[in-house]
């Protein structure tokens, strides 16, 4: 049976779970040996990507991107962070901020496959559509 990159990643994650930091190195070495033996070393990249995802999933860490027109103040970032935590039900939210002047104002929040578009630009375009009707 073929083992997918996702299964490898989950296996590796579970194997490392109860190990102390010192032992991890040994586990990793064994893991790579298994990959080579199964002729699956080309999947290593995919495994790393999946491991990242599984780790975040298991630990309840959510990566969110916020797009703003001008850099936010610290308090504002916290408000947005709390908002996302509330909405997604994740334990911890990591926020990456990106400045894009073209959205004019407001904020766009992206996480997983969800998007909350609260930008002034989209509001204006919706208003335009509404008036045109």
């Amino acid at each position: 049976m073929k083992i997918s990159a996702k299964q490898y990643a989950r296996g590796l994650y579970e194997a490392v779970q109860e190990k102390k930091d010192g032992e991890v190195k040994g586990v990793l070495k064994k893991f790579i040996e298994v990959l080579v033996k199964n002729n699956d070393f080309k999947k290593a990249k995919d495994v790393i990507r999946n491991l990242d995802k599984i780790f975040r999933e298991e630990e309840g860490i959510l990566e969110a991107e916020i797009v703003v027109a001008s850099p936010l103040k610290k308090e504002m970032v916290k408000i947005v962070k709390d908002y996302v935590t509330d909405m997604s039900g994740a334990k911890k939210v990591e926020v990456a901020e990106r400045v894009d002047k073209s959205i004019l104002g407001g904020v766009i929040i992206k996480y997983e496959d969800k998007i909350v578009d609260g930008s002034l630009k989209s509001k204006l375009s919706r208003l335009k559509m509404n008036l045109a009707k």
């Binding site: 909405m87 969800k114 998007i115």
Partner: protein, 504 residues
Amino acid sequence: MATKDFIIEQLKNEIAGFKAEAKKQSVGVVVEVGDGIARVSGLSDALASEMLEFVTASGKKVSGVVFNLEEDNVGAVILGDYTEIKEGDQVNRTEKILSVPVGEGVIGRVVDALGQPIDDKGPIDAKDNYPVEKIAPGVITREGVRQPVQTGIKAIDAMVPIGRGQRELIIGDRQIGKTAIAIDTIISQKGQNMKCVYVAVGQKESKVANIVAKLEEAGAMEYTTVVLAGASDPASLLYIAPYSGTAIAEYFLDKGEDVLVVYDDLSKHAVAYREISLLLRRPPGREAYPGDVFYLHSRLLERACKLNKDFGGGSITALPIIETQAGDLSAYIPTNVISITDGQIFLEGDLFYQGQRPAINAGLSVSRVGSSAQIKAMKKVAGQMRLDAAQYRELAAFAQFGSDLDEETKAKLELGKRLMEILKQDQYATVPVAQQVLIFYALIKGYINDVAVEKVREFEAGLHKYAINNGEAVLKAIDEVKELNEQIEKDVRKLIEDYKETLS
């Protein structure tokens, strides 16, 4: 300027009243695109056959439909130009199931598979949207087929009658008059209280343009809608077109009207579906068609129905067309559709090239609904006709070997020859049912026995002309009473005798 102030005031109110809420929305990203198919990651809550909106780098929006829901991605079919969609483009949900605009406004129009007009008559005024895929009406809502669809084609109305709500397959090789039968049927629905939908799947646009022109000339576009997915359209549109056509028909069904839908043709539809399925990596089966091609056609043709009074009493009659290769009826798609439909009209190349047009093979053509879809007068004159025609062909082949035949066989052969002549009919020359009864009556009562075989068609044309000029009352009586009672039979006999007198 009061009006100016008024407008400004209105605008102010509009703007003040406008609330733009930021809504949580799921989006996807194109992972892979090509051949009209896109794989989209994300969109974890997309619905099956939901419309999607691809936003290209240039800001153009292309629509698509969810086709495959998989573990970590969504397989979508792109409706329209897929060359501009690139990997990494954003995909939005619309939260709408694929649907087409329907209403009185679509009558007389040529629309594409998504219901958008492609003629030059401006936008369509449609009140409603109907989903393209719909579950067929259930048992409780239906009733038996009992009213006829008058095709105006003698061979069909006499031998393989079609009823309202029936599904009758037209099957045969290329270029032997399958579409001609369907078009003639649409033309002769004038004044029969019938709406028509002609769905062209994978047809040459020039052919469809000809058909539309012909329908317009015959005044048939007043009650007909043409749904066109041409040969150059992507497979996704070819796949959707028959379902859209049925959705348009269902609008009229729900209003209790009778509708005739022609699917021209379903073999190309199956090929388009095979293309999409293979691109989406569904496993191929026999002839490389996916496992659910049977369901593809059965769910479409099950939507043809005759509803009972409690549910409006409307009907959808389906005339699917299948093209065979070299008369091979046992290929995959022909056998499937034959088993779904309530009968088939089989057209044969040999007959066509012998000049027997329409080239209907009487032995292999059947109508499972049968004579309950004929008016009584027609039943009386045409009851045995299909068997007679089928027997004649065998007898004729047998009689070629010897000339010394007994009287009975000779008489049968002579009658058969004349029947074959009468069943010949030109394209676009439909015959109303009363006139059909007249000529068939003349045949079975022996009025034509003394007419030379090569003169039979001339005789028939003369009879029709004579009847229209001198026997209007008789034709009207047949139309209204719908049966040959003693009085009408007497009138008919007299009309034919009078006509024969004018000949001598």
